[in-house]
Symmetry: C2
Subunit: 115 residues, 2 copies
């Protein structure tokens, strides 16, 4: 019984880590998010230029981030249409994770340098 519980807890925990890792890993997700947070909402092309990401990759990343409610996508009825991407309020909840990563990463540099 206890074993079963332990395993379940463990797999839930593992799943939670995987989920977070998925959202935060990869070459661009956090770069995109930080640009949208710091510079505010902007259009697809502008974001592409500012981040230096080719459209194919940017499109894919934004779709995933939208599914994860980290960015919002707003279409304007101009001609041709314009699309604006912005960081959501929900994206702020990631701050705790990112801050923990920043803190550990900074200390780790020192820990490794101090051979």
């Amino acid at each position: 019984m206890e074993n079963k519980h332990d395993q379940e807890d463990c797999s839930h925990t593992h799943l939670a880590i995987q989920d977070t890792l998925y959202v935060v890993s990869g070459k661009w997700k956090l770069v995109i998010l930080s640009i949208l947070v710091n510079d505010g909402a902007m259009r697809f092309g502008e974001l592409s230029r500012k981040a230096g990401i080719s459209p194919r990759i940017l499109s894919k990343e934004l779709q995933e981030m939208e599914m994860n409610k980290l960015v919002s996508r707003t279409v304007s009825n101009t001609r041709p249409i314009t699309v604006t991407y912005g960081a959501t309020e929900y994206a702020d909840t990631l701050k705790e994770v990112i801050d923990a990563m920043i803190k550990w990463g900074k200390n780790h540099r020192k820990a490794i340098a101090a051979n």
Copy 2:
């Protein structure tokens, strides 16, 4: 001047995130670490069997983790030699990061499920 400072802060921050990401990302690093933390130090073969990782990958992961001071490697002068791997005390410092990831991941499941 302010710009320069901002950029430096930003790049340091970005670097710190990358460093942390490097240590926790990938398919096996946290799995290996949790086994060593939960079950204690053990030998290469045992770890390979317990985690279900082929020797090539396990060896590579352990080397990286040793360089990052997350695992210790101890050679015994038996014949043939035996090698024991264990989680270091320093590995405990990662707990903050991992806990933040677990917490966010668990909440995120709910947030996404509540469509």
